[in-house]
Symmetry: C2
Subunit: 147 residues, 2 copies
């Protein structure tokens, strides 16, 4: 039997969140958190609407997932996020001890890998899942902004 719950399957859900950010005129980044193939948290970038640099998609998803689980550690959870996390979000993920991070497009300027942010030693990382879709959405956003 084919497993429908692939990384691509869940990244599509994160992309839907990114599209919700786009529609709100926010830089289109979306995130979901999954445990045992179940989505327990969703978030999309709301930094403009909330006037708050901390309102990244990942931060909201981390808070929501911990609220769902009733504990602050996200052991056994996977974060799917359309763009590579920044220093702040990677730092939050470090504290959460999340088991797996899957991201779409790389952020070569402000991504945590370029910036050297440390994750928890037990966290694994998968890169580039539906990266083209995530990049395309970002490019479309900034192209419209320049109009």
């Amino acid at each position: 039997m084919i497993n429908p719950f692939t990384d691509e399957y869940f990244m599509k859900k994160a992309l839907q969140e990114a599209e919700m950010a786009f529609e709100k005129d926010e830089i289109p980044v979306g995130a979901i958190i999954v445990i045992d193939n179940k989505i327990i948290a969703r978030g999309h970038n709301l930094t403009e609407m909330l006037n708050d640099v901390t309102a990244h998609a990942e931060m909201q998803a981390i808070t929501a997932a911990a609220n769902f689980l009733g504990g602050k550690y996200l052991i056994g959870c996977t974060l799917y996020v359309t763009l590579e996390p920044c220093q702040m979000c990677a730092g939050a993920l470090y504290w959460s001890q999340i088991s797996k991070i899957v991201f779409g497009a790389s952020d070569e300027h402000r991504g945590f890998e370029k910036m050297g942010t440390q994750l928890h030693p037990k966290t694994t990382v998968v890169r580039g899942v539906l990266a083209d879709e995530a990049s395309e959405l970002m490019k479309r956003f900034f192209a419209e902004k320049r109009k």
Copy 2:
């Protein structure tokens, strides 16, 4: 005339926040944000109470200050925090473009300086203000925890 608004003056206010965390059985870290010698935001660590790794004193103060100012950038502001910020908080401070960070005790294991987190190029840092008081509070907290 003597200027009463020294870094020590404001750090004492941050220490009061740290004491509030202590009383709630939280790791005692406190923060305030100041603009033009006026305190516009306060926060203390609430990670246990909120079950949320993102609920550091600095994160709450950043969100509160932006809310007060009606904008997400903290240009012209100073953060006073009793303990050196972590990667997450330093990453948030990077996005905020805050003008100055004053911290008390260094965190040699998980502080942003050891971890290599980048601040905004316009942010200046002052270290070690009332560091002994901040360290003493932390030591007392962990000593009581071990009992």
